[in-house]
């Protein structure tokens, strides 16, 4: 098991490196001279030359890449072309709201979807199963912004249980922090509950038809024991996969939710940076998102090995 973990972790290193190189190349290969973009349309050719010299743009590409990788290694992503603030600072400010929202959403989604899927599988073909499956169609079909606005209308405006919008950091107190996450997390979790519950149901039903389930019953195992001790862990691999995919989708999907609930997270940062053509910020955020994806994949791989001994190679 240890060698499996080490191998998997090491295999993530070249992937991260490739991602960094690609992000670097994308910016260099995109049309236009960064110096012209930074200096603006009224700059003289002397100013441009100075700028190129100070930014190192006239050095060979490989050298630029190495310098850039070195900067990244120290956590230096340069300064924003628009605000002039360090990119690292900008991104870190926005990272926490997004992480808080994504984490609470996925925990909620898994916590609801797992039992729903298992119940549906257990009651396969009966009314409870049909109810869960019908609910999942609705959950999957209604767009997040509609669920979001409806929930704001009911729970924030009419009932006044939660604040309408916004974000407060944890340092402002847990109540302030958590109360503002409830509605967006629920709104955002709907499609993921639907998706994960379906996958859980399908896989549990499939596993329940396996020979070793019959063996477990022949041993005198209870139906609950059959489910918890034999079925769930065998159904785990595809479920973990879909949870991993959900997290990745979730992070790219926060752009919409953050707009609806007015949360100052990465989604909003990307939106603003793209509209303002703030290349250094875009570059940093792409790199951050890619890194997160790589780590999600790595975690999913490691979980495979944990759940299924046959995958530990």
């Amino acid at each position: 098991m240890l060698s499996f973990v080490v191998k998997r972790v090491l295999s993530a290193v070249p992937v991260l490196f490739m991602v960094a190189v690609i992000v670097f190349m994308v910016l260099r290969l995109s049309p236009g001279d960064p110096a012209v973009m930074i200096a603006g349309p009224n700059a003289t050719s002397e100013q441009l030359a100075d700028l190129r010299e100070s930014m190192g743009l006239n050095r060979p590409l490989l050298e630029q890449l190495l310098i850039w990788l070195g900067d990244i290694g120290r956590g230096d992503f340069g300064t924003s072309l628009v605000s002039g603030k360090p990119v690292t600072e900008l991104v870190m400010d926005r990272l926490w709201p997004t992480l808080a929202l994504s984490t609470s959403t996925i925990i909620l989604a898994v916590a609801v979807a797992l039992p729903l899927g298992v119940i549906a599988a257990w009651q396969q073909g009966k009314w409870l199963d049909r109810l869960v499956m019908a609910g999942s169609v609705v959950g999957f079909s209604v767009p997040v912004f509609i669920i979001g606005y409806v929930m704001i209308l009911i729970f924030a405006r009419k009932l006044g249980w939660f604040p309408v919008q916004g974000y407060k950091p944890l340092s402002a107190g847990f109540g302030e922090f958590a109360s503002r996450l409830v509605l967006p997390s629920i709104a955002l979790s709907f499609p993921y509950i639907a998706l994960i519950a379906r996958i859980v149901r399908t896989n549990v039903i499939e596993v329940m038809g396996e020979d070793y389930i019959r063996t477990a019953r022949a041993k005198g195992q209870t139906e609950r024991g059959v489910m918890t001790e034999h079925a769930l862990r065998n159904a785990a691999v595809p479920i973990v996969t879909i949870i991993g995919v959900s997290i990745a989708m979730l992070i790219s999907g926060v752009v919409v939710t953050e707009s609806v609930f007015n949360i100052p997270g990465l989604g909003r940062l990307v939106l603003e940076a793209v509209l303002a053509r703030d290349y250094t910020v875009i570059q940093a955020v792409i790199l951050l998102f890619s890194t997160i994806y790589v780590f999600i994949n790595l975690s999913v791989d490691l979980l495979y090995g944990l759940f299924d001994p046959r995958i530990r190679y």
Partner: protein, 547 residues
């Protein structure tokens, strides 16, 4: 036989009927009655669909709840009617009083738990032993089923063990609580003959130690002749006949039993080699290595090496071996479904190994696969599947249709089946269609890869006869790959015996099967069930030799 007249009856199945839910036109198992005494082995024998497995699942109380139910009769286990007990009591009885060994050791164990933990689970559920006591009991049970290195096996996952070892684990799991009754549903069907023999011996040994009553469900009369005290013959849900082993095997009363017993192939070779015919296939120094050599490591597997044999026109040559012997690899190389690493495969005088364009060869060599359920495209009619090859080789549709019709008649199917789909046929009929699919191309060589292994004995006998008829009518040569020596004895002129990628013996079937020279061939023959029965003539084989 280990029973005495005053042995107690452990299981008494009385007038049991099993029906589908909701009720079908006809129950699947109708009014079955039989008893099993302690220390006795009763074999339930029947073909697929006879209801033999359903009967054993009913005794275990494991019929799929929403599909099948017992609608009549009583199943008495030590005087307790298990059809009337509560679910909780039934769970108590399972493993403790009635245990089961299943057919597929590959899938009967949970792949994500160690086998030690899975045997331990039985003790956790049924005893109040401490973890240390449980572990001691499990280890001693692993020892009793003769597993090597029990501490390591205890911590192993199922995929780390061989098929035979896994079946030992399943048996250990079934017998650790010393149940009164053991139900074994085809427990050796998926195993090689040598492993099968060991497992049968193991069950017998443990049975004698504990006086367990054993119900052994099987389709294999070879196995039956070795272990049965009494035999219950079933056909399509009815009990046909019961009797002691010798009564059923030597003097069956019912026609169905007679047909069933006489369909069982015996180990007595029946065919002579064919000489003085041109060579159709000549395999010379064939070698196949799977995988690539790395810079430092060598992960390659030598699946076949130094393979030399010939097949003459009109000859049936058997390649015999256990799983992993390389017999299928050789067959695939002959067809160039996979490329040999070295050597030549000469078909009709031309070496096909260096050829790039295999179009002509493909027509000359045709393949019949093992599983008739998966080798026909389910979305195409029989006619479309059979005509495809002919049309690919430039025949026009009308003529192809005519040829397919003729070929179907050759395999005893009416030409009218061309418009039907594979799912409308039974396994035996599908295998006939698969054979027609190969024969319609008018090949010079047919490769039949375990082509009758998945079939019931009566169907198997028909298909074997069909293959011989086709050989006689068309002069085709057949390379017949099988793990079953008895089948090979029925049909092959010459045989090639393979072990671990090498040929250990090669020659006329009558010489090799009657007088094996190599130790491995002898071991295979010894392990083959019922070497001493001549089923076709309802007598021990010694009588056949005497004649």
């Amino acid at each position: 036989m280990t029973t005495t007249p005053d042995s107690q009856v452990v299981l008494s199945v009385e007038d049991v009927t099993v029906d589908t839910r909701p009720k079908g036109k006809k129950p699947i198992v109708r009014n079955i009655s039989f008893d099993v005494k302690e220390g006795e082995t009763v074999c339930i024998v029947g073909e697929s669909g006879s209801g033999k497995s359903v009967t054993s699942m009913a005794v275990m109380g494991l019929l799929p709840k929403d599909a099948l139910q017992v609608t009549g009769g009583r199943i008495m286990l030590d005087g307790e009617d298990i059809l009337k007990v509560t679910p909780a009591r039934m769970r108590e009885l399972r493993a403790a009083s009635v245990a089961m060994v299943f057919q597929e050791p590959m899938t009967a164990l949970n792949p994500v738990k160690t086998v030690g933990d899975q045997i331990d689970e039985v003790l956790r559920l049924h005893t109040k032993d401490s973890p240390a006591e449980r572990k001691k009991k499990v280890l001693s049970m692993l020892d009793r089923v003769h597993l090597p290195d029990i501490e390591r096996v205890y911590k192993s996952f199922p995929h780390e063990l061989s098929g035979g070892q896994r079946q030992r684990i399943v048996i250990a799991m079934a017998l650790i609580l010393r149940p009164r009754l053991l139900l074994a549903d085809e427990p050796t069907t998926a195993l090689d003959v040598t492993t099968q023999k060991q497992i049968l011996y193991l069950i017998k040994e443990l049975q004698e130690q504990e006086k367990t009553a054993v119900v052994f469900v099987t389709h294999d009369f070879g196995v039956v002749s070795e272990i049965a005290d009494r035999i219950v013959v079933m056909n399509r849900g009815d009990l046909v006949e019961t009797g002691t082993r010798d009564e059923i095997l030597t003097a069956p009363k019912k026609d169905y039993t007679r047909m069933l017993v006489s369909s069982v192939p015996s180990l007595i070779p029946r065919r002579e080699p064919i000489a003085a015919q041109p060579k159709v296939l000549d395999v010379i120094s064939l070698q196949k290595r799977y995988g690539k050599k790395g810079l430092l490591s060598d992960n390659t597997v030598l699946a076949a090496q130094d393979i030399n044999f010939t097949v003459h026109k009109g000859e049936i040559t058997g390649i015999i071996g256990e799983s992993g012997s390389g017999k299928s690899t050789v067959a695939r190389c002959v067809m160039r479904l996979t490329d040999p690493t070295e050597g030549s495969v000469v078909v009709n005088g031309r070496d096909i190994v260096p050829m790039n364009n295999l179009r002509d060869v493909r027509k000359q060599v045709q393949y019949i696969f093992q599983d008739p359920y998966r080798s026909l495209n389910p979305r195409r009619t029989i006619g479309q599947s059979l005509m495809e090859g002919l049309i690919n080789y430039g025949m026009d549709e009308a003529e192809a249709k005519k040829r397919v019709g003729e070929t179907l008649e050759l395999v005893n199917m009416p030409a009218s089946v061309m418009n039907r789909y594979p799912h409308q046929f039974s396994g035996g009929q599908r295998q006939r269609v698969a054979i027609a699919r190969a024969v319609v191309m008018e090949p010079d060589l047919l490769i039949a890869d375990e082509a009758v292994s998945a079939l019931d004995v009566t169907v198997q006998a028909q298909v074997l006869k069909l293959l011989e008829d086709i050989r006689d009518n068309t002069g085709v040569s057949i390379l017949f790959i099988t793990h079953d020596l008895r089948v090979a004895a029925q049909i092959c002129n010459t045989v090639v015996v393979m072990q671990k990628g090498k040929i250990v013996e090669h020659g006329a079937a009558r010489d090799i099967l009657a007088n094996p020279q190599h130790a491995y061939t002898r071991a295979l023959i010894d392990a083959a069930p019922a070497p001493d029965w001549d089923f076709q003539n309802f007598r021990p084989a010694a009588a056949a030799v005497a004649v």
